[in-house]
Amino acid sequence: MDSDGDDYVFYGTPIEREEEISSRKKKAVAKSSGHLRSLPVWKQEVTDEEGRRRFHGAFTGGFSAGYYNTVGSEKGWAPQSFVSSRKNRAEVKQQSILNFLDEDEKAELDGQSLGTSMQFDTFGFTAAELARKQAEKEQQQRPSAIPGPVPDEIILPVTESIGVKLLLKMGWRHGHSIKDSNANSQYDARREARKAFLAFSSDDAKLQLAESEPVKCNIENSTEQPANDDVLSYESTPVYVLNPKQDLHGLGFDPYKHAPEFREKKRSRICGKEPGNRKAYMAKDNLFGFKSGNVAPGFGIGALEELDAEDEDVYASGLDLVDTYVQEVEEPSRLITDSKQKLVAKEHGVLPGFRVASNSEQQLERFDAPVIPKDFVPHHKFPGPLETNYKLADSPPQEVLPPEDNNLKLLIEGVATLVARCGKLFEDLSREKNQSNPLFNFLTGGNGHDYYTRKLWEERQKRNSQSKQQLDGKLSLSTQRMTAESRGKILGERPLDRSTKDLGSSVASAEVIQLQFNLSDTFTKPASFSGLPEVMKPFEDDPVKQERFEQFLKAKYQGGLRSTDSSGASNMSEAARAHERLDFEAAAEAIQKGQWGKESKFSPQQFVDFSANGGMQFTSGGLEQVKDSEADDLVMKKMFPKREECQWRPSPVLCKRFDLIDPYMGKPPPAPRMRSKIDTLIFTSDSVKSTKVEETPTANRDSHPTPQFDVQGIRQDVSSKEIEVEVEVENVERPVDLYKAIFSDDSDDEGESISLNKVEDPGKKIEAATTTLNRLIAGDFLESLGKELGLEVPPEMPYPTNKAQIPASQKEGVDTDAGDANILPVQNKPSSTPISRTRVDHEQPHDQEIAQDGRSGKTEFIHGNSDRTGSIYMETSSSGKKFDKVNPEKLAQEHKKARTPSGRHQNWNDSSSSEDERSRSKLSGKYRHRSSGSDSDSSIDHRDRHHSRSKGRKKESSREKSSSSRRHSKHHKRRSRDSPSRSRHESRREHGEAKRERRKKRD
């Protein structure tokens, strides 16, 4: 009815042809089945059975539009006849979805409904259930011998699952293997037949037929099959054996991955139930590879497949001969493996493929250590460096009278001395040389030989003692140099209290020492313990045990790593060793107790770790004090206790929990420690400790005053540069009146305005930043003001501005904590604010009334402690507060008093006041300070009004920070062009007026 509907008018419905109808039907079916459903609702068409479009509604529809798809009949709903359920109420009416469906819906649903059918009861559960129910029913009817439902639940009627049934039909019987035994072609053919049969047998109707069929098939196809079947029938279905995880390998780890031949070995070892014949066989197989011939090559055994029982069986019969042969060869090995299996229980550490010797003759035989004679001293005397020493031990020759000939005597003595000094070689040489000389007969045993020998001995003796002394001296020196004790003594350390402290040295002094020995002693310490265990011989009856005990003690006392057990103990069992260990500990404790009383040189420390009671111990061996001398005590008393003081910042929450006011409330969190050079120079973070003692102006430690000083210092530096510039410019005296005109109006309410600000925003952290910013702005303002007035004002320095942030921020913090809503003029936070400001107070008489309300406390403090250079930040902040509250008037007086000797402050100001300080020396201090005061004032004004602008400035200022002084001139120019400064100035004035009004109101 679209395009051509306009031209033609049709009456009636056109007669449709047969094929059209049928095609439409098909279409309708297709549509209704799938297509329609996917369409949106408004596009779906309703069709009747014949596929015609059916219309709904009075205007578009035909006669049937009224009830189709809506009600059951032409007349509307057919009411169900009412049936009273009163009588058969008990009858439980099972409702299903079918109760609520129309016929056509039911018809639709018919094909789609899902249900279980007995036919596919694969596992037989449903059948079993049915059977059980059936049995139950029967049970109820007939009486049971055993009362209760027990037997019925236990004994279930046997049903077979469909799978079992099928298998049975296929010729399988219980207890037989399902697996195909052969993979040969004949069997394959048979399997094909079975498949075909299966296909047929699925149909119930053909079941009977099918059953007879396989029999035929069997008979026809497999003539040789029976033999195989026979073989198979022996093979019962293998019980599913769970392979417990018996090893300690991780999941999935296969230790035999690259050595599969060991796998079988292990398995055989674990389950020794397989017939020995096959096992040995398989072991051989696996050990020597698959090519042994027992298994036909290329038959079903892949590299990854395991050797199958069936596979082997098949070939076992064929290769009987080989088998027996192999068996014979393998006989001894089998024995071995058997024996090994026996051993396995005992010795687990044997590698597969290796065996443990049956007799333990190879075991290490241990010999007892040679018995050391009792008088044996474990010192080895090394031969001395000189031969002479060697002969020392010789018994001295007889004392002989010197020969009468004096010359001879002298000669003999001389030679003896030389020989003693130079060694025997000299004697031999001289003997050789003077063989003919009768004077030297004494060398060869002639006249005076006895005397010579005696003399030689004496000389040697002498020399020896000398050298010994020398050595001794050296040794004592070296030992002193070497020991930590002596070093400690020199350094004033407390010596460690060691039990063996002087053992070594005493031994050294007692014995004849040579350097080598000494060295060896330091390394091996043979003697150091000979003394110690003497006292403790609790196991005297058992020398071996005693020895071990000593070893144990040694290990104990010597510290360090516990030495491995002595060889004697190694053949003891673990339990015995542990037992002995306990014994030893007990003994050691006993000894310790015994000694504790007697010997003070054994400090209890050493034994503490044996004592079974383990309280809390401190390893304070190093700290332990040897009895201090009186002098030491005195020194100690003088030194300690030593008090130090530093800043600590409690967390706000902690203060809250302790119900205290956070002393740092409103302060910015401690600045993260900055690492850059400049920053570390300038900022000292809050956490830096400071000792009161060290509080000197130069000390960079005190966190609060230092930034200030630094600021000042640097300002000074920078400004000194500036001054030079300025001095040139400033030969014209600044008109005092002008300044007065500008600043005087503000000076009155300066404190007020600031206090106002403070009242408005205590505790706001942002404020700290903004004040500093405003100070920057104020600097700008001053500068531009100077421009306007035709004066050269040095540009704001990057350093001072930078610095100004810190004191300002600190000031803010003080403000907020010191005066909780107390109106405190800013000027009176002297320690942290630029000091020039405090001076403003002192020099401005008209500020007095403001001074009365409490700031005096602070300023007073400054004066009082000014010899400490105002570093006592703490006092100013805390006790200043107290003063404020307690006695303002009195303090005010004090303040007045203190005001006069403020020379020091002046000094400070000279150093601290910023750029224009020096250059404007001609100006009176009053105005100067006013200017600086007002500069901060104005800044604070601006904080209120020009917040956003100040933010913009912030960026600028940060840029300035980074900029070097080189940039100043440029900077300067830029500033001079800055017009907003004027407006700022004006606004400031307005603001000042507004404030004055406010103040009046309050007054």
Binding site: P604, M616, E624, F640, S651, L654, F658, P663, M874
Partner: protein, 300 residues
């Protein structure tokens, strides 16, 4: 000898039950009960006057080194080798919260006056304050200026005082945000406040107790005679501040006169190290705990 007459020297009760060393024994705030903790990982609540064991608190995984109870006896806090601070409900015996954060064993623990904060001293050289009010398990304050293990902590209304093995007694004043460090030169084992709050008694590992003036840091007196070289031994002042008492490693208890530092009395109280002493807040009564596993109650 009227002075020594008031000293508790008669054994009134022996509290047995701990298996192993008892590391701390503490009276509660009114002195009617006492708490002990020890190596057996338990905390025990006793009535020392009747010698009754009331309750056992088990949850610690390692030895319990210190325990403290709130003034209202409703909550406990304990600490120990498992690096945690346990916050207990006394009546139910359940752990309300565990504060983790110490990197080492926790040596001592204390409630503040309002029982809102637990301050713990740890082997990790820090004092940590834990908030009992909020549900955060993070410490609200970490004080890590100590140079060595912090052994003991004391709290006043406004200060946190810690004694450390680095030889210092550090006072952290919350009102003014200052840290006062008194260096004694000897490892400090235990600190105790005098009842008037003016002095602090520090037990040092050189077998000396030292009494410091808190305001000036001055060393007022030294008390010697006992042995204290390797264990954490408690010390305390008597309720009248007239005497000082402390245990010794040989099982003795010593009483010193506060002023002239003379040993007023000493007697063998335990067979082994006396780890802890606690003096009754009002009466002349004292409890001592020892490594021998007993807690003894001493009365005059």
């Amino acid at each position: 000898m009227s002075a020594s007459d008031v000293l508790p020297r008669k054994e009134a009760n022996v509290l047995r039950g701990h298996e192993g060393a008892v590391l701390a024994a503490r009276f509660n705030s009114d002195g009617n009960y006492c708490l002990s903790c020890g190596k057996d990982r338990t905390i025990r609540l006793w009535n020392p006057h009747r010698g009754i064991h009331i309750k056992t608190y088990k949850s610690h995984g390692r030895e319990v080194r210190d325990v403290h109870v709130t003034p209202d006896n409703s909550k406990l806090c304990s600490c120990g080798g498992d690096r945690q601070i346990f916050y207990w409900d006394v009546s139910t015996g359940r752990v309300i919260r565990k504060f983790r954060g110490h990197d080492g064993e926790v040596n001592a623990v204390k409630f503040n006056e309002y029982s809102s904060v637990v301050v713990s001293a740890g082997y990790d050289r820090s004092l940590r304050a834990w908030d009992c009010r909020s549900h955060s398990n993070e410490p609200i304050q970490i004080i890590d200026t100590f140079l060595d293990s912090v052994m003991s902590v004391c709290l006043t209304k406004t200060e946190i005082i810690g004694g450390s093995v680095d030889g210092t007694v550090r006072t952290f004043d919350m009102r003014i945000g200052r840290e006062l460090s008194d260096n004694l030169g000897q490892p400090v084992n235990c600190i105790a406040m005098s009842n008037d709050g003016n002095c602090i008694l520090a037990s040092c590992l050189d077998s000396t107790l030292r009494l410091l003036d808190r305001s000036t840091g001055e060393l007022l007196q030294e008390y010697k005679g006992h042995t204290c070289k390797s264990y954490k031994l408690d010390c305390c002042l008597t309720n009248t501040d007239a005497h000082i008492t402390g245990g010794s490693e040989d099982g003795f208890i010593y009483f010193w006169d506060l002023v002239d530092a003379s040993v007023v009395s000493s007697f063998q109280a335990h067979s082994s190290v006396v780890t802890s002493v606690s003096y009754h807040p009002k009466d002349n009564c004292m409890i001592t705990a020892s490594v021998d596993g007993t807690i003894r109650v001493w009365k005059t």
